[in-house]
Structure formats: structure tokens, C-alpha cells
Symmetry: C2
Subunit: 230 residues, 2 copies
């Protein structure tokens, strides 16, 4: 069941005619939310070049760009909601304002990123530009923001290929600080599965790949479909 | 030098007459920025009760509330900027928009928290309410947001008592997901120093302390005062 959802997620990356805009299919009245994993004016030349480079790699089907929204639009997350959460909980007022953490900033100020997935190799590559509202020590991206982009990149590696899982352990070695607004490259690899345990590694390098900013190991546990979380 | 900065930081928590508001000392034209570690209308009853409880503990001086701003107002961070960053870098346009990651959200939508420091015990307690823009899986606080609040709580434990240090390792075990908008309690303890290495532990529990949401170990390295970071 979860595998079939993952397959559906992989097919939902179709790009609207006006990319990046929220739009409505009048025939079905279905709202299609803005896809944030597409270039916008805040993207630096480095980030655009990386995007173009990987979009070319997508042409033969070996890589796929992962769309990204503020709300839970993907079948995979809708399925999670239906299976693991009490419907009453989802109707609470606070939930009406809920937005995905990494997409809750104004354009250019927070997490600007695009991820690409290689199904055969179970790899995700993420290009990340950390905006000025992610500051930790003056001039640098916050360690928590780095942990966040590592969490979603390693998480994507598991969720897309194997179905919904939650982070059980995240172990990060911070090597060199990341200057605000620079572009870094995350390379994540699912390398071992033991039952519901999924082991993923990740590196964070500068765009020229000469500086290793961080390296991490993550453990994800696939959810037990018989248990609610609330 | 860094120790003396830490001492200055401990004394800069004076509360303005109109708490929470940005204000100006007309005599010196010095701008005093808004302190976000004070109650606001988004705080739940649980968070307010915890705040009041610990403000009482501050009365005998054993605990101190840690003020929190969007910009680098503390002498400790100004000192960091002067010592470790190239002045040209700080004049770049991007830096004019820089804001502390955990204070860059609108009131109630992101990280609402207050931290208290016990100097004698080298402990920091943080009360944290994760707003709806911190969502990870539907209904729950993002693992990256949890890593962030752990990073700043453990970081405060080192920075306030020992001077500026950067996160070198963060190892988090996620035990139970945190429902959006609930209040959790972080208990952080500096327990070992080896040269420039500072070892800190942290737990994240529900407000009733019955549920352990996460536990973490962090290693911070005090900066070498002879080296610039850019």
C-alpha cells in the first residue's frame, strides 16, 4: 500500500503551464498548489545552473525532480494523514494554519532548494541556498537549518523509494560553517534496510565541492500501519 | 575576554517598562530591540504557567531568563562579529536582511520559546511551543525544528557560561513525535569540558514530563580567537 503511494508520488511532478503559480483546473475544480522547487528571482546564478544541469539529467528518466508544496498535497502525505492521525485532531483550528516548515518563508528569505531523486541508485541530491532569515551566528546558516535540510533530504531518500518513515536518529558532524545565501550540495544515499529500519547517509558540500560543510547519518523507521500517532 | 563577554550577556536581560516592544533610549539614541522571550497572545496557558513558575525562580538569582532578539544585539555576538568575520562580508546586501532563524517568524507561527539559565549548575531549561509553520509530517513539529530548538538550548548552555562556541556534533534520538502547538520542556546540561571541547546533553519532554519526545548529545568547540571564519 505504501509502496503504491510512493509510485503515485513519483508521477505527480507534472509541471503546470505557468510554473510556480498556484492554479486551478476549471474542468475538475481541483486546486493545484504552488510548486516551490522551481526557479524564482531569489535564486542565485549557481542555483539556477545546478537546476538546469539536473533537469537535463531528468530527460532520460534516470533522475526525477521532486515537487515541493506548503500544504500536504501529495498522495503519500494524504495517505499518512488518513492512516495515522485521528480525524478530530486534523479539524482543530491550529491545523488550518499548518504549513510545511521548509516552505513557510517568503521567497528568498528562508529555505530555497530543489531535490532530485534517482530511483535505481536510491539517491537524492539537493541544491540548497540558505536565505538571510536562517541566520545562526552572524553571517552563517543556523546549525538547526542545516539539520533541517539534511533531515528532509535523507527523509526524501526513504519516503519516495520505500514509503512514509519518521526520523529516529540524526547524527550530524558540522565541519565548516555555511555562509548565508551561498549554495551547497547535499548528497544522500539509502544504503541499508533492516526490517522497518532504513539507514541513510548524507554529505553537505560547497557548490564547487571543495569544502565539506557537514556529514550525517540518519535512521528512519517505517511507520506501523496498525498504530495511530495521536 | 570571551568570559567577560559572557558576564556582560548575563547582565543584559533588563526588562523594559513596556515588555516585548521595541523601544528607544532617547538620551543615548540607542535602539533597544524587541525581546521575544516574553509572553505574547499566542502563548498557551501551559507556556505562560511555565514562564511564571521560572520567573519566580529567578527572584533569588539562581536562575536567569535569557533575552532573545532577531538581530545580533548581544555584546557576545557583536564580539564574535568583530573577531571572527571579515568586515567587508558584514557589509554585503544580504546581511542587511539577516535575522536569527528562530525569531524570523510572525508571532505564534514559528518558534515560541523562553530559556532560563542556571549558572551554578551549568543548566538551561527551555519551554517551547512549536507553531503551525513548523510542520513536518501532518500534525507534528518537523524533525528539523526539533533539532533547531535542541541546538539553541544546548548552545546557550555553552555560550553563556563559557563563551562563543560552534556546534561540532549533534546526535538526536527522536522517540515520540511532538504535536503542533503543544508545549515541551528541554533540559540541557553542560557536563564535560576537554580543552576547547564542550559536551552537552539534552532531553525533550512533554509539559507533564510523562513523555520523552527526544534526547540528544551535542559537542561544541570554542572558537580559536586567532582564526577568521571568512
Amino acid at each position: 500500500m505504501l509502496r503504491s503511494c510512493a509510485a503515485r508520488l513519483r508521477t505527480c511532478g507534472a509541471r503546470p503551464a505557468n510554473p510556480g503559480a498556484a492554479w486551478r483546473l476549471f474542468s475538475s475544480e481541483k486546486v493545484v498548489h504552488k510548486d516551490y522547487a522551481l526557479p524564482n528571482p531569489s535564486w542565485s546564478k549557481d542555483l539556477r545552473l545546478r537546476f538546469d544541469q539536473f533537469m537535463k539529467k531528468c530527460e532520460d528518466g534516470s533522475w526525477k525532480r521532486i515537487p515541493s508544496h506548503r500544504q500536504n498535497t501529495s498522495p503519500l502525505l494524504q495517505d499518512f494523514q488518513n492512516r495515522f492521525l485521528d480525524p478530530k485532531f486534523m479539524k482543530e483550528e491550529k491545523m488550518s494554519k499548518a504549513q510545511k516548515f521548509t516552505r513557510s518563508f517568503e521567497v528568498g528569505l528562508g529555505f530555497e532548494y530543489v531535490m532530485f531523486f534517482n530511483g535505481a541508485e536510491k539517491r537524492v541530491v539537493c541544491f540548497f541556498q540558505g536565505g538571510p532569515h536562517l541566520q545562526g551566528l552572524p553571517g552563517f546558516v543556523h546549525g538547526g537549518a542545516i539539520a533541517t535540510i539534511i533531515d528532509i533530504t535523507t527523509g526524501a531518500c526513504v519516503n519516495i523509494s520505500e514509503g512514509i518513515a519518521m526520523t529516529a536518529n540524526l547524527n550530524i558532524n558540522y565541519k565548516r560553517p555555511i555562509p548565508l545565501c551561498s549554495v551547497v550540495v547535499l548528497n544522500s544515499q539509502l544504503h541499508k534496510i533492516e526490517g522497518r529500519k532504513h539507514f541513510v547517509s548524507c554529505t553537505v558540500q560547497s557548490n564547487d565541492e571543495k569544502t565539506l560543510h557537514a556529514e550525517a547519518a540518519a535512521l528512519f523507521i517505517k511507520l506501523d500501519p496498525d498504530k495511530r500517532l495521536t
